[in-house]
């Protein structure tokens, strides 16, 4: 069985229904984001004061908000922002973390300097770091991605650094060096291919935590501008109506929890797939 075959990757999901559920929720979110304009029953921006704060009913499944906007439509539209922030943060973390980690491990002198800087960043809680950056840069979607991404760049760098330190002493890397391979060859042919699997797992967790981070920033009014629907913004806008219209908080809150939770499930399943110690769980010999 090829390591890269579809069955190989699907097996941990089939073995555990809860992981399959996570994958399902994730796919549903991606579909919702992709086809938002066609899926949403109403225009997420349309205001209709005559039906403001309607509880969930047959016409408006998730109810309406203080401006009479359809909560379901806004929640579906928000999936776009969620995926944008999530993939942006993952991209940022990988694009910065992988080169810093790999080069630090291969060039110890450079590594001493870079990794100490990473340690300094790691000393701050990531949300605090993000808040500080937003205050300096000003709130916008791009800045939210940068601010959250910086926090996860550090963990990604640490993981890549540790793995590369181990990889560079592998016999096959030495064999390659003994045949005259340069640094670029070692990185391209030996180190990066062996980083793909662990980074895939890391990416899924970063994506999940980016959701929570983005929701927190939005809630504090420091993320996406308030006119753009996002789950965090929806929470922030409706918190004054928590007793009169709890559905306004329940549905976006549930979306945040569901995506973050399902991403964690998927990450767990990928990790089990790639860590040989978990092979037994999948009914394969070690």
């Amino acid at each position: 069985m090829s390591r890269d075959g579809a069955i190989f990757w699907l097996k941990p999901f089939i073995a555990r229904p809860i992981a399959l559920m996570g994958l399902g929720i994730l796919l549903a979110t991606v579909l919702a984001a992709t086809f938002a304009p066609w899926l949403a029953p109403y225009d997420p921006y349309a205001i209709d004061p005559s039906i403001r704060l309607t509880p969930p009913n047959a016409l408006h499944w998730f109810g309406t908000d203080q401006f009479g906007r359809d909560t379901l439509s806004r929640a579906i539209q928000s999936a776009r922002m969620a995926l944008l922030i999530g993939s942006g943060v993952v991209m940022f973390a990988l694009v910065t973390g992988v080169p810093i980690g790999v080069l630090s491990a291969l060039f110890p002198r450079l590594g001493h300097v870079l990794m100490r800087m990473v340690d300094v960043l790691m000393a701050f809680p990531s949300l605090l770091l993000a808040l500080g950056l937003i205050v300096v840069l000003g709130p916008s979607v791009v800045n939210a991605i940068l601010a959250i991404g910086l926090g996860y760049m550090t963990t990604t760098t640490r993981i890549v650094y540790g793995l590369t330190l181990r990889l560079r002493t592998e016999t096959y890397v030495e064999a390659s060096r003994s045949m005259g391979a340069g640094t670029a060859w070692l990185i391209g042919k030996h180190i990066l291919p062996n980083l793909v699997s662990p980074l895939l797992v890391q990416a899924s967790f970063v994506f999940a935590f980016a959701q929570l981070g983005a929701a927190s920033l939005d809630f504090l009014g420091l993320g996406a501008p308030p006119e753009i629907p996002s789950w965090g913004n929806m929470l922030a806008e409706s918190r004054t109506f928590i007793t009169r219209a709890p559905w306004l908080l329940f549905f976006p809150g549930m979306m945040i929890v569901a995506t973050a939770f399902s991403l964690n499930l998927v990450g767990d399943a990928l990790r089990d797939r790639l860590d040989p110690r978990f092979r037994q769980l999948l009914g394969e010999k070690g």
């Binding site: 090829s2 390591r3 592998e170 016999t171 096959y172 890397v173 030495e174 064999a175 390659s176 060096r177 003994s178 045949m179 005259g180 391979a181 340069g182 060859w185 042919k189 030996h190 291919p193 062996n194 793909v196």
Partner: protein, 316 residues
């Protein structure tokens, strides 16, 4: 030194910086080794763990930088060098066939790696044909090129590791314990394969092992190393039939014999080699040696020519 020597090592010294309990130590792994390898010859290096035999091999292929001494290939100095010609001409087989192949690369790519790095192949078809030929030469089906290491057994992996060293064909193969990680039955097959290849390709070989029995089967000449120095060097038969250095005698005595009555009694030493951190001032073997005299504790014996061999001992 030698007229037809392909590889000449002269007074090689290698040391490592080690940090222990917060203090820095300089550990001398190889302490003045001179060797020469003749065209088509198999020279065995034998010794116990940590005696520096692997470090000698690694310095030849440029994986460690010697402190001093020289390594020359066909009369050209290649000490710690990155000369392309040398890289393709001197190749290494590694001990652990499970670690020496990248799990994420197909066998064919691993086998062709030296050629790929050094721009040896001119066409895709030529590359595939060369991979197929190398795999066939080591007794693997050419279809193995598309497989991944986890699909192969230990013996098959080591064959692939050997195929990697003969594409393109080198002058010298450094084999670092190539069979010690394999089952005994597979060991014999792999040894036979290496001997066949040596003959077909006209290779010279440096065969590093801790097992004098294995060395005895494959090499023409044997150098015995102890704590970074050569203590005895001679033709294989001479060493096996008439070991003189007390350390060589204990190694020969340790080879399992079909006839136990032929054992050299009392020659197997007790105790462990001294720590590399605290090298004895005299002969490094003196603390374990049955023949040690007062002189051995203060005076390091030089390697000198005695009869049909080179020997470093005051008392034989």
């Amino acid at each position: 030194m030698n007229g037809n020597a392909v590889l000449d090592i002269n007074d090689l010294k290698v040391s490592f910086k080690v940090r222990r309990a917060g203090r820095k130590y300089q550990v001398r792994a190889v302490d003045g080794v001179s060797l020469s390898l003749a065209e088509g010859e198999v020279l065995g290096i034998v010794g116990e763990s940590g005696c520096g035999k692997t470090t000698v091999g690694r310095s030849i292929v440029g994986l460690v930088r010697p402190d001093s001494g020289s390594i020359s290939f066909k009369g050209r100095d290649v000490t710690g060098a990155g000369l392309r010609d040398m890289r393709l001409n001197i190749r290494m087989v590694f001990q652990d066939p499970y670690a020496s192949l990248n799990p994420r690369r197909a066998i064919g790519d691993s086998v062709a790696e030296a050629g790929d790095i050094n721009g040896f192949f001119t066409s895709r078809a030529g590359r595939s044909a060369a991979i197929a030929a190398a795999l066939t030469a080591v007794g693997l089906d050419p279809s193995f090129a598309a497989r991944y290491p986890y699909e192969l057994s230990g013996g098959q992996r080591q064959r692939a590791g050997i195929a990697r060293t003969i594409l393109p064909s080198p002058s010298i193969v450094i084999a670092d314990e190539p069979v010690s990680a394999l089952d005994v039955s597979v060991q014999a097959q792999v040894l036979n394969l290496m001997m066949d290849l040596r003959e077909q390709l006209g290779l010279s070989m440096l065969f590093i092992s801790h097992d004098l029995g294995v060395i005895g089967r494959i090499s023409n000449r044997v150098a015995v190393m102890y704590m970074g120095r050569i203590v005895e060097q001679a033709a294989t038969r001479t060493v096996l039939d008439d070991p003189r250095h007390p350390y060589t005698r204990s190694l020969v005595a340790a080879i399992p014999k079909p006839d136990p009555s032929r054992r050299i009694l009392g020659a197997i030493e007790t105790g462990e080699p001294p720590s590399l951190f605290k090298r004895p001032s005299g002969c490094a073997y003196a603390p374990r040696c049955p023949l040690a005299s007062d002189r051995c504790l203060v005076d390091v014996p030089e390697l000198r020519s005695v009869d049909d061999r080179a020997l470093a001992c005051h008392n034989v």
